[in-house]
């Protein structure tokens, strides 16, 4: 149930945006991926689900190569699902939330199975199953993000990728979604790649933290080590910039 990036490179046109990135998301753990915009975090996530083709290296899901094939169906079988940043563009406004979730259910379930599975998933993310018929327009941002999470879980993923899933949410809602993420991981034993630019959020959910800069992983280790005893200069810079101050005073200042 693990996700392994082996020296993965990706390019947009002539620009290489990922340089031989190697990263492992071990079974049942949450790996936090931090870095600034343009560092390649999201691109790495998108290679794992086949939205961005890799130009070198390979991605293994449970030891089986995935992602390089461009056929849409192959990714479904690979068991990697993704939750996106913007809950306002990740749900089809023309579809009821129940339909959106049902679409992602693996296999060919009967109508009755689909309805009960949608109800189960909505209940899992603490939404009233009776709302399955509603359109996303009548839901708040936090509720939409729950639906997006339920849709990702519908594919019975072994690995879940969460790309900045709380950065578009209000503070009070962010807490609830983070609690839900931790709860899902504990109950379902999901492996998760949790991408965020917010170090405090990553610290709260992740077991290990990988720091990305300019298309490379510059530091990766247990969350407490990376965030309290960073070894790479870039990690120190990031930590020093956290508003409210880092847990430990850092000598290096940013300019």
């Amino acid at each position: 149930m693990s996700l392994v990036f082996e020296q993965v490179s990706a390019r947009f046109g002539r620009t290489e945006v990922l340089h031989e990135v190697s990263l492992e998301v071990p079974d049942g753990s949450i790996v936090g991926l931090v870095g600034e915009s343009g560092s390649g975090k999201s691109t790495l996530a998108r290679t794992a689900v086949g939205l961005v083709p890799v130009s070198g290296g390979r991605i293994l899901v449970d030891g089986v190569p995935a992602g390089r094939r461009s056929g849409a169906r192959s990714e479904a079988r690979s068991g990697v699902q993704m939750v996106f940043q913007d809950p306002y563009s990740s749900l089809d406004p023309r579809m009821s939330i129940g339909e959106s979730i049902a679409e992602a259910i693996a296999g060919r379930p009967s109508r009755g199975e689909r309805t009960s599975e949608v109800a189960r998933l909505l209940d899992l993310v603490h939404l009233d199953p009776g709302r399955a018929g509603q359109r996303p327009g009548s839901l708040s941002g936090g509720q939409r993000q729950r639906v997006a999470l339920a849709r990702a879980l519908a594919g019975r993923p072994t690995v879940l990728i969460a790309d900045e899933i709380t950065s578009a949410l209000d503070a009070s809602v962010q807490g609830a979604v983070l609690n839900l993420v931790r709860e899902m991981q504990r109950e379902l034993g999901l492996s998760m790649l949790f991408i965020s630019h917010n170090l405090a959020v990553v610290r709260y959910v992740a077991d290990t933290v990988a720091v990305m800069s300019e298309g490379r992983i510059v530091e990766h280790g247990p969350a407490a080590d990376v965030l309290e005893r960073p070894t790479h200069d870039y990690t120190r810079t990031l930590l020093a910039a956290v508003p409210g101050g880092a847990p430990h005073p850092l000598t290096k200042e940013t300019r």
């Binding site: 192959s74 406004p93 009070s172 609690n179 931790r182 610290r203 709260y204």
Partner: protein, 617 residues
Amino acid sequence: MRALRTPVGAVGATLLGLVLLVAVLAPLILGDRATAVDTDDLLAGPSAEHWFGTDNLGRDLFLRTVVATRLSITLALAATGIAVLAGLLLGSLPWLLGPRLGRPVTALVNILVAFPGLLLVLCLATVFGVGARGAVLAIGFAGAPTFARLCQTLIAGVGSRDYVAAARIAGVGRVRILLRHVLPNIGEPLIVNATIAAGGALLAFAGLSFLGLGVQAPAYDWGRLMQDGLAGIYVHPLAALAPGIAVVIAGLAFNLTGEAIAGALGVTPAVGPRAWSVPVRTAAPEMPAPAEETVLDVRDLAVSFPGPSAPATPVRGVSFSLRAGESVGIVGESGSGKSLTALAIAQLVEEPGHVAGGVTFCGTHLQDGGDHDDLLGTSMAVVFQDPMTSLNPAMRVGPQLAEVSRFHQGLGRREALARAVDRLRAVRLRDPERAAHAYPFELSGGMRQRAMIGMGLMGTPRLIIADEPTTALDVTVQKQVLALLATVRREHGTAILLISHDVSVIGEVCDRVLVMYAGRIVEEVAAADLRDGARHPYTRALVAAVPSMTTPLDEPLATIPGQPVDPAAVPPGCAYAARCPLATDQCLTEEPVLVDGVACWRAGEPLPSELEKEARV
């Protein structure tokens, strides 16, 4: 249906309904009389019996024009149908085929669009052969490239949305995604354009028939009738003009309806309860003379917007003041009214928004109806969240900054530009000369935000209002921008009003924090006390909900149950009561006012979660 309420929509829909009704009924009722030959009355002028006269077989031209409606409309609609279908097919091919195979299709569509439409119609009409069927095909296929281009653009827009990506990850095939996700979401603009195109097709058809390439006798449409009438245009002008008028009316009907639908689709209808009336004060309240060093004094500020049945007031009775060099933060969730408060202070609330209450800036009452542009332009600076949209993308950064000084300080072009470069240096942009010559898109997000602050520094601002200035920026850049604001404040004694949803950002920069909920200030607290000394249950919940670098990892984060209040349906009593664990009957009925820095009946009482935590320790 909202489209019908506009004058354009009402006229268009009525016309269209009339035209369609005639198209259906006329041939049934008048069909026989319109083909009745009367050899006694050939080529007659208008008379009481034949309103538009008769043709060379003595047939009544008025009746023929009316009866021709059905064929004209049917043919136009058929041609439009072909154009839309062919366009849709051609337009969705690039998406279905993927980027590599799709490129030649896109190129083909580009070439076809560049080809003159009329030429294409005439060319195709001769290819498909003279007659109604050939003309339908010709006009339909000639219209296809335009629709193909439209569909391509619309599909590309929807195709880049995350829900399409999610469907792809879920393993849904491209054809299925196209049918389920893409087409339903491009339907509206497509229908609007099809309606307008139907008007065009009608005209094109009349043209082809007029040239003899369209409908052939004994069948007749408006174009055919025009051609027949042309011979006698100087004797009986009405014979040729009447079908022309019919074309104009039907064409207008289609176009106006399409326009009205397009206009209506741009707006989402507002729904929800509106059971709340606003006391909108028009007269400015009595303004107590502000203290000497007060830069900004806001008294009883309210902003309201008209709603379907009653106005909504997202900002209600906000009062506070800023001293010179002071830094005050406003924190709150989306919809709390914090940004609107900032806009109201900067006099940027646009119609139909209504601002009530008093704003005194540097001793000048801003709502006395006078022109305060120079004061606002030089002494107040506003920095918004997204510097990409607040800078003019088509103008270089330097001249854009220089404009401020040229307008408000009367500097010449060269002097103003020199000052702009100097100000860009002041906000510590590396290589300010080059930045001044750059377009906004050539700068990074952090550099753009610095340039925006630099624009504020073109004058000598007494106040900088920064509305989520760092939300779109990375943490390291955020730190730099916040440090820059602090420097400006220190060096120029500028007061800063910082609006943010991020409690930790506010804590970093501000002396005082105003917490807003449902359009009111519910607590005013020193920034240092925000984390431990806040008394309002909402403030405490908001602070606890945000993980910091010291949050204990073994406990769930605090959450605030329920939903924020809809500004159009603010309940009586405390707006937070429904979500508050401390709420009593009093909270539900009586609205607490801001006393001693907090607006809460049960301020400072321990929350259940806090008691729990204490019990555990």
